[in-house]
């Protein structure tokens, strides 16, 4: 069940990452055309940057799921296969720990309970917690930045799910048996 969820999520994320790549290009082309016609829209650049960062997190979730992120393989390649498998499990555990920690940090950052306590009143929330994240605005867009930052908790959650599934699927690190593909 979890595996199905992870696979499906991975496909959605891969699609979203590709879609973001197209969208960036379209936005930048749009920017050039409108400027050439003296109708420049000043906030397009900022959207393109946000879309790019979203693309990075979607893509990274997919890469971590497929264990294809760049890593240094020299030392581990020299180990006997039993130890290599141990290292494989260790890597998955570190990535999982990272996902969980990022989730915890995102919770502290968005502080949803304090926000509810403050009755969704942002200024009261900041006064109490000294956390001004809900006041931060985009530079040129009429947009609060906490909407854009939502990709971080999403990424954290997704890394947790994918890595957990990877670990359950292969608890003895057999993925280290084939020649490592640490590099793209």
């Amino acid at each position: 069940m979890l595996k199905q969820l992870s696979d499906r999520l991975g496909r959605v994320e891969r699609f979203m990452a590709g879609f973001c790549a197209v969208l960036i290009t379209a936005l930048i082309v749009f920017n050039v055309i409108t400027r050439a016609m003296n109708q420049a829209v000043f906030w397009v650049d900022e959207i393109a940057i946000f879309v790019m960062v979203w693309m990075v997190f979607f893509a990274m979730a997919v890469l971590l799921k497929e264990r294809k992120a760049v890593a240094v393989t020299v030392l581990v390649d020299m180990l006997p296969s039993g130890m290599r498998r141990g290292v494989g499990v260790f890597i998955d555990l570190v990535v999982l720990l990272f996902g969980v920690l990022l989730l915890v940090f995102s919770w502290q950052w968005y502080a949803p309970l304090d926000l509810i306590n403050a009755g969704f009143d942002f200024s009261q929330f900041s006064a109490k917690t000294m956390n001004f994240m809900y006041q931060d605005r985009a530079n040129t867009l009429a947009l609060q930045k906490y909407w854009v930052w939502l990709i971080v908790p999403w990424f954290a959650l997704s890394v947790c799910l994918h890595t957990l599934v990877n670990l359950l699927d292969d608890p003895r690190g057999h993925h280290m048996d084939k020649t490592p593909e640490g590099t793209p």
Partner: protein
């Protein structure tokens, strides 16, 4: 302690981006600065939030579209019309085609992969030795990250907070010098070993090759023309080049099939995500470096050993050669630049452009040296030539690049002449 954790994770094959993130977590925890945790996510996001970085996905996409759309192939054919008949013609064409591709793609590894698939079989068919053919292609791929646009330069520009456009300009002469010296090597090798005779195309073939290449030639014209006319920034010209390649590949050559596009876009996204996540994680890792005062420590240590900028750059070269043996490209750049650049500019008065070109060229060289040379292994995997055989054929090229590097360390002329 933080350093031990960092090294242990790195050597145990944990993905480098995650290593940087986890080291930062450990450092914050260890130094009792726990309030930083609440802004961890913001820092991670914010480090990738830079206009200059947009160039990376855009140029990767342009390169992908050019290959899938059959533009690369037609450009090579175009070069054959003029040089195909000379003895060793294909070897020179290889260099020329790589210089053209270098002006479009920003990554050496991607370029080596594409070009060795496209050119090595052709050269073999004409009677070149396979290891030599592969070596030329791999060496020529080194121009990718130096001739602008270049992914390494973009990342360096963002880290150093200097203009990426100026960084590109600084790379033009060093890139051309590399190209020229490669031509000379190929010519010299030709004196020793007889290259196979080339074949001139007949008039009909030649006309056809030229005609077919016209749309493909538009792409470099779009890129360079866009920048020179001021109509587009270097970043924007990459987007225009993607659009042009898409239209040409789909409607003129009809090599680009609609059903291939989703996979191509996803590949662009993951390949650029790989690089950009490193930049993002460098943001949180930066805490460790700044708060620990690592640059100051290194500066003090180096200050004791030398005060000469040339000697300093040579030391950097040795260090990078060592770092480059284990980590490559952008990851190494991210680790090294925040520490060494402040020392280079403030203590030794080295211009950031000279430093950038030297560091990037150095790291590119690391791509072709064992044990971790990604480029070496990609070329070897694409052609089936054993990596060590390939490395031997590469030796003259690598020696020349090293020579150029020492010169660039000594004298900033090549970098600053056009600025």
């Amino acid at each position: 302690m933080t350093f031990t954790i960092f090294l242990a994770l790195l050597l145990l094959q944990v993905p480098i981006g995650i290593v940087l993130c986890m080291t930062a977590v450990f450092y914050v925890w260890h130094s009792d600065n726990l309030v930083l945790f609440a802004s961890y996510g913001q820092q991670l996001f914010g480090s990738a939030e830079s206009y200059g970085l947009l160039a990376i996905p855009l140029f990767i996409l342009a390169g992908e579209l050019m290959n899938e759309g059959g533009l690369t192939r037609r450009l090579i054919n175009f070069a054959r019309v003029f040089f195909g008949g000379f003895r060793g013609g294909l070897a020179y064409i290889n260099l020329m085609a790589n210089m053209m591709m270098a002006a479009i793609m920003g990554s050496a590894v991607a370029q080596i992969a594409v070009m060795s698939r496209a050119l090595v079989p052709e050269m073999e068919r004409e009677g070149y030795e396979k290891p030599f053919a592969t070596a030329i292609t791999a060496a020529a791929g080194l121009m990718g990250p130096i001739i602008p646009p270049s992914m390494l330069f973009v990342v360096f520009g963002v880290l150093a907070q200097i203009s990426i456009g100026d960084m590109f300009i600084a790379g033009i002469i060093p890139g051309l010098l590399m190209g020229a010296s490669f031509f000379i090597i190929v010519a010299l090798v030709g004196l020793v070993q007889q290259y196979p005779k080339g074949r001139w195309m007949n008039l009909q073939e030649a006309m056809r090759a030229i005609l077919y290449a016209v749309p493909a030639l538009l792409v470099p014209i779009v890129i360079i023309g866009g920048i020179l006319s001021g109509l587009a920034t270097p970043t924007e010209s990459a987007a225009l080049a993607s659009l042009a390649s898409l239209i040409i590949g789909m409607f003129f050559y009809r090599d680009l099939k609609l059903d291939k596009l989703p996979a191509l876009f996803a590949r662009t996204a993951t390949n650029s995500g790989l690089v950009l996540f490193l930049v993002a994680s460098a943001g949180v890792f930066g805490w460790t470096i700044t708060f620990e005062g690592v640059p100051q420590m290194v500066a003090a240590w180096i200050g004791d050993s030398t005060s000469d900028p040339f000697v300093f750059l040579l030391m950097v070269m040795v260090l990078l050669l060592f770092v480059g043996m284990f980590i490559d490209g952008v990851a190494a750049l991210i680790l090294v630049v925040p520490i060494l650049l402040p020392i280079a500019t403030t203590q030794f008065g080295i211009s950031p452009f000279q430093f950038g070109v030297v560091v990037c060229l150095n790291l590119v060289l690391g791509l072709l040296t064992p044990p971790v040379g990604t480029g070496l292994f990609v070329a070897s995997a694409m052609t089936g030539v054993p990596a060590m055989t390939l490395f031997r054929s590469l030796a003259p090229f690598l020696a020349v690049v090293t020579g150029l590097l020492v010169w660039f360390c000594y004298d900033a002329w090549a970098m600053e002449a056009l600025l």
